[in-house]
């Protein structure tokens, strides 16, 4: 591999939640890592200097859930198309759920995904291994082999394990190798056929509904098993206030559990279904305003340590059907950071805290050394103009898919440069 260039990012506001740095300074990069902060090391001759005046210099974002659709669903998106969109959005590490085709239940698939990502070079992709073979919830996947093949965690994607017995054994086995397990808390029977939160809007529009208990029940089950087995679990994409309360209470008792929320759950609610916009068809469904406020509060106080894109790119046909028959999910990589900055702008959360939920928080969930910019750390960097305002349109989207309800919405902040392991992988052409 060619040696990576020496780069100085000059005069930006460096925010590194891991080290607590928040100051106007220079960042010097060599050999793919942070060489110095502030004064350059003696004799440091940068190959390139990026002027970050008026800009934020952040660790590259870590996204715990982004579907890239490869292998198996390349008509929706590819690793190349989506990692490129990620780089343009300041995201340098992506965790890819195991529901690819074939499922990530063998080292071969896990390695294929990483090799393809490395070859394209835009972002680092960490495959989440399947807990059970074929995600069928019956027999255990070869977890140790998946770990050796680069899977930092295991999961069930959106196919929750029905058998509590199998889940218990899967958690125990995963705990043998200290692998965190992502649970997707949605009771399969209570949520079967549902497409909307059971509440005012589903009652009015006659939409098949998913009750709050579909989530709280699954969270309670996961917590009980984590406590029993000592396994480390992570709830992917919580949507209800009660589930967050259950998680917080269990953590206080020392249960090894964490949780995240998808960024759109911090903005949208069940009311956004009133126009039957298929882009608001999500799983878990959009809940009430009270749920949204509780989720925001949990992000602020750190009970939810990560905020994800939950990127789910779709082909146009997947959304061209009556609302309940459409495939759930939002293409969300490119709105993750702008929406997070909007939360800061609206005074919901401080900037360093918000950045922590997008970097150190998620990196800690999967025990990875990314999302930090201390000296010697891997130089994944996002430089952005926080004052930039732009409108999301189909033309501004770099990813393959356009399934987002945020089209036409004003976005906050725009990425100028993204560095992955010390190399510039994205550079906005029209810098102002």
């Amino acid at each position: 591999m060619a040696s990576s260039p020496k780069i100085t990012i000059r005069n930006g506001r460096l925010i590194d939640p891991a080290s607590g740095i928040d100051s106007q300074t220079d960042l010097h990069i060599a050999e793919g890592r942070v060489a110095a902060i502030g004064a350059a090391p003696s004799g440091f001759q940068p190959d390139r200097t990026l002027d970050a005046s008026g800009r934020l210099v952040l660790p590259g974002l870590v996204d715990l859930s982004a579907r890239l659709r490869e292998p198996g669903h390349e008509h929706k998106a590819t690793i190349a198309s989506e990692t490129r969109a990620a780089a343009a959005s300041g995201i340098t590490t992506l965790c890819c759920p195991p529901d690819t085709q074939p499922v990530i239940d063998t080292p071969a698939v896990a390695q294929l995904i990483q090799q393809t990502a490395n070859r394209n070079g835009y972002a680092r992709v960490l495959p989440i291994g399947a807990l059970t073979r074929g995600l069928k919830g019956e027999t255990l996947a070869e977890m140790a082999a998946l770990k050796r093949a680069g899977c930092p965690a295991l999961g069930e994607a959106e196919r929750p394990i029905r058998s509590t017995h199998v889940l218990r054994r899967a958690l125990e086995y995963a705990a043998s190798f200290a692998m965190p397990v992502f649970l997707h808390p949605l009771d399969p029977e209570l949520s079967a056929g549902g497409c909307a939160h059971e509440g005012r809007i589903s009652a009015r529009l006659g939409l098949p509904a998913i009750p709050e208990a579909a989530e709280t029940l699954a969270v309670a089950r996961g917590l009980a098993l984590a406590e029993q087995t000592g396994a480390r679990i992570h709830f992917r994409g919580l949507s209800t206030a009660r589930a967050v309360a259950l998680l917080s209470e269990a953590r206080r008792r020392g249960v090894r559990a964490s949780g995240d929320v998808s960024i759109h759950q911090l903005f949208l609610t069940e009311d956004d279904l009133a126009g039957l916009d298929a882009n608001c068809h999500l799983l878990p469904p959009l809940r009430t305003l009270a749920d949204r406020e509780a989720l925001r509060a949990a992000v602020v106080n750190g009970d939810l340590e990560a905020v994800c894109s939950d990127h789910q790119p779709h082909d146009a046909d997947a959304k061209l059907a009556p609302f309940p028959e459409t495939d759930p999910g939002i293409a969300a990589l490119e709105t993750l950071l702008p929406l997070a900055l909007r939360l800061v702008e609206e005074g919901v959360i401080g900037l360093p805290e918000m950045i922590a939920r997008l970097t150190t928080g998620p990196a800690g969930v999967v025990d990875q050394p990314y999302g930090r910019l201390g000296i010697g750390e891997i130089a994944d960097v996002c430089v952005l103009d926080p004052e930039a305002r732009w409108t999301l349109t189909p033309e501004t989207l770099l990813g393959r898919a356009g399934n987002t309800p945020f089209i036409g919405t004003e976005m906050h902040g725009r990425v100028s440069w993204t560095l992955l392991g010390g190399r510039v992988v994205f550079e906005r052409v029209e810098q102002d």
Partner: protein, 333 residues
Amino acid sequence: MSALTPQLHANGKLRHFLTLEGLDAALLHEIIDRASGFLGVSDQAVKKVPLCRGKVIANLFFETSTRTRTTFELAAKRLSADVLNLNISTSATAKGETLLDTLRNLEAMHVDMFVVRHATSGAAHFIADHAAPHVSVVNAGDGRHAHPTQAMLDMLTIHRHKADFSQLRVAIIGDILHSRVARSQIIALHTLGVPEVRVIGPRTLIPAQAEEALGVRVCHDLREGLRDVDVVIMLRLQRERMSSALLPSEHEYFRLYGLTEERLAVAHPEAIVMHPGPINRGVEMDSQVADGERSVILEQVSNGIAVRMAVMSMCLGNQNLQHSQSAGATDGQ
């Protein structure tokens, strides 16, 4: 918050008829009045009016229904339109054709109106969203969402028996949760000024937060719910509710919620009894009530044809208006 597909032309006239949500009382009265005018047509020797001559109406039934399709077909024929009946659940979709493919094909045949019945909530809106600009869409029932012509024929029926909507108490009994009919009826009743709408049934058949979401009073006790009501609307109970743990048995349902003359005694002495059909006798009501003097069930069927004629002629007539206006003509009808 985004809004549903617009159903009205810019001038406030009906373009599609998808849901009663968002339509005002004046428009609902216009439908009732126009339908009242069509009631006589069925009694004429020649049961036709030439209002929609030369128009092509396609009945797109993705879910089988003999009765609703027949009344739509009859209504279209009485308006002198040409009618295509497509039972799509057994043809196109079985061959993998998508909903949109089917639509495009029919549009290419210059169909002016789609009458759509579909098992999925929101299907009529989806079709209206994607239909060509010259095509009107009438919702003949979509999933649990809406069945606006059924609700309007019920309003016509009530109107013919009760002087003033603003003085009425109306009870709807049965499976509200799965009922598009109930949802549309509740909206229509509210829009027309009915001050009290009650829904009666066990918790398993009432949607979450019904009071707040639908603006109704919820009763689990039939006697309490029927007290002093002027209009009793029964809903059809589907057999599969027993197998999906919503009800223990038809027997228990009838014992708790079945309508009998005796139970009807607490209602207003002149209360009328309605049912969208087909009736499960001995489950929703006994035959004495169904065939009794308070029952207006067969009248509902005749009113159904008149209401569908009204809605179809309004949408298609407004199409003409739009066309002639855009062509600069002055003789729009």
